[in-house]
């Protein structure tokens, strides 16, 4: 054997680990990711963090201002709403709804999108025609109006919100996966796998999918922010999570009547939405830069 092959094997380093290192170096994105993680932790440990019961009403503290304002009370750091419920506690509990719905919708939509996209991109033919036309039709509807219509038909409820949003959301990962599959299926190693007797299922799931996962993950994180806003919008319109469950969108709606004198009722949940969505967006852009530089939405 030649000298070249005798050289010591390089330390095994996966592409994933290298990309992850690039992501951590991006300070802004990594900081945003930490904010997102904090939100998630807050949602998980809500019962231990929240200073008050988010559902306990106390009319003595009705529209109580935040602690730093005149008339504020330490028991209600961010004040209280029109029913005297602790706004901070409700924001902490509201994170559960936003993050759970966001994650559930993205999980369902991405799973469906990957399967449909792989089938359309790899099998082509009538499968592709059917899936692609369905995608085109769904893309033709404005998202929020579509969701409002579905919610009106199905009635409110956590499961229905997830369904209503996932109904249209899968289209996005599906298009990404289909496009990537069309490129990847023509690559040499897919042909090589076919020549060595790989089945269609094997090629789709083992040869193509691992190679197109980066853009799919990036899109999923970006879309999670969209879904959180949509859930907030639905709840704002009263079509989402039903009271008294704490949801940021519903909380913003609650404060509308008192926005001039008691601005904190709407403002703090609004800020929570802003902060979480912004953090997810910045973090996902960092992910995109680290994992898939050529991809732009």
């Amino acid at each position: 054997m030649s000298v070249i092959e005798q050289s010591a094997p390089v330390a095994a380093e996966s592409l994933f680990r290298r990309n992850m290192a690039a992501f951590v170096e991006n300070r802004l994105a990594f900081g945003s990711a930490i904010v997102v993680v904090l939100f998630v932790l807050m949602a998980i440990f809500a019962p231990w963090i929240a200073p008050n019961d988010p559902y306990a009403t106390n009319l003595f503290f009705r529209l109580q201002p935040p602690v730093w304002m005149e008339g504020g009370d330490r028991a209600y750091p961010l004040g209280a709403d029109a029913l005297g419920r602790c706004i901070l506690s409700r924001i902490i509990y509201g994170a559960r709804i936003s993050i759970f719905i966001g994650a559930a919708v993205i999980l369902v939509a991405t799973t469906i999108g990957i399967l449909a996209g792989l089938a359309a991109g790899y099998l082509r033919g009538w499968v592709d025609v059917v899936i692609s036309r369905l995608v085109d039709i769904l893309l033709g509807f404005p998202y929020l109006i579509f969701a409002i219509g579905l919610m009106a038909m199905m009635g409110p409820g956590l499961g229905n919100i997830i369904l209503a949003l996932a109904y249209k959301e899968w289209v996005i990962p599906c298009r990404v996966v289909r496009g990537e599959t069309l490129v990847t299926r023509e690559l040499e190693y897919v042909e090589a796998a076919r020549a060595l007797g790989a089945s269609g299922k094997h090629i789709m799931l083992r040869e193509i999918l691992p190679n197109i996962l980066s853009p799919v993950i990036v899109v999923a994180t970006i879309r999670m922010a969209h879904v959180i806003i949509l859930e907030a919008s639905l709840s704002f319109l009263g079509l989402g999570v039903q009271p008294p469950t704490a949801s940021w969108g519903a909380m913003v709606a609650d404060g509308r009547a008192f926005i001039l004198e008691s601005w904190w009722v709407s403002t703090f949940p609004g800020l929570a939405i802003l902060l979480l969505v912004l953090a997810i967006n910045v973090a996902s852009q960092g992910l995109r830069d680290a994992f898939d530089p050529r991809f732009t939405e």
Binding site: I4, E5, P9, A12, L15, E191, G197, S199, R206
Partner: protein, 335 residues
């Protein structure tokens, strides 16, 4: 059919429907591969070498299709097999390695995972129990990598393709193809992407493994030198047809078809130093709407009026055939 024949292809015709018309990439090709032999397929790009064997493997996809012909592998007509049975046969009985070693491995999976998948799919001798099965796969993977000359194979199984050099990737590709102990290995330009020293190693390896495992090898290449050194028999293809075939030594010493002579003349040789290399003039004909005449007509230095009709393969000595009327015409009638 004789027992010595492993693969027999008769009158294969593979066409591609394009906007410009029907391209006949393979037109009436006959191939015979004997057990244990190494058959070289030579021809320039677009001569139909790869498509012929893609057809054998059932890998021709729309817009291409096999229009006619018979492909018999070890007594089974492959064209009559269901897609499922064909898939089971691919990799297990006939394995093919792809032209470009640098891109033929999946970049997202480790080499070990790719070898393991091949073994999972095709090796029936593996134990059923999970722990024992995994250990057996590991052992076989190390064995295969060691077989193709990759040092510290156990560690390297955990590495990704980008961590290997081009020559090593080509050999890993061969290791994966051979993992199922196929009876026929189709090596499609196994050395094109490699530098010369690695080329020699890879070809030596294929020859050695052929002898050890007793399989047949089809070596697709455009390098006559490679064929001269490693193949028992050679088939020269031009514009979708076989133009000459026979034992390698005889074909190279005494080529009967003007195209083969042209190919040989266009190889640089130390003995002919200082003399210009003689390339073959002209272009390969457009494969759409070929006129009914010898396909080499426009480029042939010996062409005459008699060449303006369809030319068949003519016997040119024992076990030799060539697609040229010159060899069919007895000496006395030659002008």
């Amino acid at each position: 059919m004789s027992d010595d024949i492993l693969l027999e292809v008769r009158g294969l015709r593979t066409v591609f429907d394009t906007r410009a018309g029907q391209v006949c990439a393979v037109d009436g090709v006959d191939v015979t591969v004997n057990r244990g032999e190494c058959l070289g397929i030579v021809g320039e790009s677009g001569s139909g070498k790869s498509v012929t064997f893609a057809s054998v493997m059932g890998l021709v996809r729309s817009p291409g299709r096999i229009e006619a012909g018979e492909i018999v592998f070890d007594g089974t007509d492959l064209r009559k097999l269901s897609p499922r049975k064909m898939q089971a046969l691919r990799g297990r009985d006939i394995a093919m390695t792809m032209q470009d070693a640098l891109t033929a491995l999946n970049p997202a999976l480790t080499v070990g995972e790719q070898l393991a998948e091949m073994l999972e799919a095709h090796d029936d001798d593996l134990p059923r129990r999970r722990g024992a099965r995994r250990a057996a796969i590991q052992a076989r993977s190390v064995e295969m990598l060691t077989l193709v000359g990759i040092p510290s194979a156990g560690d390297r199984l955990r590495q990704y393709p980008h961590e290997f050099s081009g020559g090593m990737r080509q050999r890993i590709m061969i290791a994966i193809a051979l993992a199922s102990k196929p009876r026929l290995l189709i090596a499609d330009e196994p050395t094109t992407a490699l530098d010369v020293t690695i080329q020699a190693q890879v070809l030596e390896l294929i020859s050695k493994l052929r002898a050890e495992l007793g399989m047949s090898v089809v070596l697709i290449t455009h390098d006559l030198g490679v064929v001269a050194e490693h193949c028992d028999r050679v088939m020269v293809m031009y514009a979708g047809q076989v133009v000459e075939e026979g034992p390698t030594a005889q074909v190279i010493r005494d080529p009967r078809h003007p195209y083969t002579r042209g190919l040989l003349a266009s190889i640089p040789r130390p003995a002919l130093r200082g003399q210009p290399i003689r390339p073959i003039d002209g272009q390969v004909p457009d494969l759409v709407d070929l006129p009914p005449q010898c396909r080499f007509l426009d480029r042939c230095p010996e062409a005459g009026e008699a060449c303006r009709h369809l030319i068949d393969m003519h016997p040119a000595g024992p076990a030799r055939r060539a697609r040229c009327i010159r060899i069919a015409v007895p000496e006395t009638e030659k002008a």
